[in-house]
Symmetry: C2
Subunit: 326 residues, 2 copies
């Protein structure tokens, strides 16, 4: 959906006024005809805005809990909004290839072919928050995983701030509440060896969704809080938090923040990465975001990426029975 400038201005005026605004006043303020005002009001109503029309004028009664661009003042021009899409990652990739700027955001209310890491499916029913952010940091691709760390820190911080829920981080980039996944992050990059061209970060948040078949491993904000949340408010706070974190991308502070929120450090883990499996105690992350693991024999291994399974306790590599898949 393209942002309609007139609709944007009408909403802005109605919000600032707070009460009734006559068609004539709106028409004068916006420099457009009253018929045009009327048409755009009708279109806003179709979007889900409740606008009262009385002899005293128009009044904004309520806004829908949709993540429409109009709900993110100042960012409207950077947002590409869909009520449903195959995958926000695919749309963002097309935009990024055609040169769209840093900070472009593709939002959808639902995805029909949502993607997770390693070509897995990401169930994306209505009620969740699905968006992809296009970033163009001037960093070597070796540091690209720090973007995942940064975004996961921002998601956890936003959940903690807004809802006082103890959101924690599982390496490489899951956000958990009480050990269950509430947010998944997927990043795709296009790079030379020297410098990143773009990194698209896809963020899927189980907001007001419930996916009963996975309830052992997956939760939602609604599930954790016992009530629905305002998705637009959450997304607005999250986008601000990401903006706040961005200058820290290459700073040690980011790694410290991540470590504070991490539930992976000091755990016994099994990392299944392309071509290797590492088992041992997670003791640190390095500057590229790689997990450093101390094996039973004391040697140190680095996991650049992969699936991380938290083990209940130190177990022999062969004792599969003791593995707890979180």
């Amino acid at each position: 959906m393209k942002v309609n400038e007139t609709k944007k201005q009408i909403l802005k005026a109605l919000r600032e006024c707070g009460g009734y605004l006559s068609g004539e006043t709106l028409s004068n303020q916006l420099g457009t005809s009253r018929v045009s005002i009327w048409k755009h009001i009708r279109s806003l109503k179709e979007d889900g805005y409740v606008i009262e029309a009385s002899p005293r004028g128009y009044r904004l009664v309520s806004s829908p809990d949709l993540m429409l661009p109009y709900e993110f003042p100042g960012l409207e021009q950077r947002i590409h909004y869909f009520s449903e899409i195959g995958s926000t990652m695919d749309a963002a990739r097309e935009l990024a290839k055609r040169g769209t700027g840093e900070g472009t955001i593709v939002i959808s209310e639902a995805q029909t072919r949502g993607r997770g890491r390693l070509s897995r499916e990401w169930l994306s029913p209505e009620g969740g928050i699905y968006f992809t952010l296009v970033l163009r940091p001037k960093i070597s691709p070796a540091y690209a995983s720090r973007i995942n760390l940064m975004v996961s820190v921002a998601v956890a911080a936003t959940i903690r701030k807004l809802f006082r829920l103890k959101a924690e981080l599982k390496w490489p980039n899951d956000v958990l509440i009480e050990g269950r996944k509430v947010c998944g992050i997927l990043a795709e990059m296009d790079a030379e060896m020297d410098v990143v061209n773009f990194v698209n970060v896809g963020i899927g948040i189980n907001a007001n969704t419930s996916i009963p078949q996975f309830e052992k491993t997956v939760t939602s904000l609604k599930g954790a809080l016992g009530r629905e949340i305002s998705r637009k408010e959450f997304l607005s706070a999250l986008l601000m938090e990401i903006e706040r974190q961005q200058p820290l991308l290459m700073k040690a502070d980011l790694l410290e923040e991540w470590k504070k929120l991490s539930v992976t450090l000091n755990k016994h883990v099994r990392i299944v990465a392309p071509g290797e499996v590492i088992v041992g105690r997670a003791i640190d992350i390095d500057t590229t975001g790689a997990l450093i693991i101390k094996e039973r024999n004391g040697s140190l291994k680095k996991a650049m990426a992969g699936d991380c399974i938290h083990l209940r306790e130190e177990v022999p590599n062969t004792d599969i029975g003791a593995v707890s898949r979180q």
Copy 2:
């Protein structure tokens, strides 16, 4: 240029025979009409093949020193050949995005918009060797720089084997002869944080070219040998060498090979990377291909990427005058 199967078969038959082959024999062997044989012979002549036609039949007198697919038996179907193109990188990227297989090769005799690292121009007149190889290794993007190391090792090894020239490697991925650049390598990748989707490696070799305006820093195989080389023979040997190196991509052997050929190790260097400059002695490379530098104060720094300038001797950071740009 698409590979024409009939032309491929005619060349194969003429080469295997070594002498004269009648139109009738060819027609029977290939199961096609004599008119078709005649047409395809004419087309081969237009490509630059010298084929004698006499009452005794057809005879292949000579092949042009072009990198036509027919010159790489067994690889024809993987080769996309151009006599001139904007950039083999751009063409390979389009192919890779559409899912072309590992090992696809885009070759061009010349490039009009040849690209080097960091959006620099790569002069690509006729006489050079310009190609891009599409690779799809199952590795984390953090290890992608090893592909550059591998290809640069293969180029140096091929030059040493074929011409007994002392080709050496400069970090991150230049091939030098007597301190002057004979080959540049550019890699572009498309990846998730977990796994590479594709890495396209562009290789530009100054074969029979001479670029007088850069002769202080750039050489060519022709310049170093004092004679022209057969580009198709070189490329054929190089492609075989890369194939030989591929299983070593994630093995320690690759790093050892690179170190043996390196002129950067033990040199004092200045690395100009996105967002930082590191000055010190290059003492090693790590498993991701990053250069490890010991600064004057003894602390170790890692350069993931960037421009590497070999310094003549240990100089204070401020003494720009002593820098030798190779």
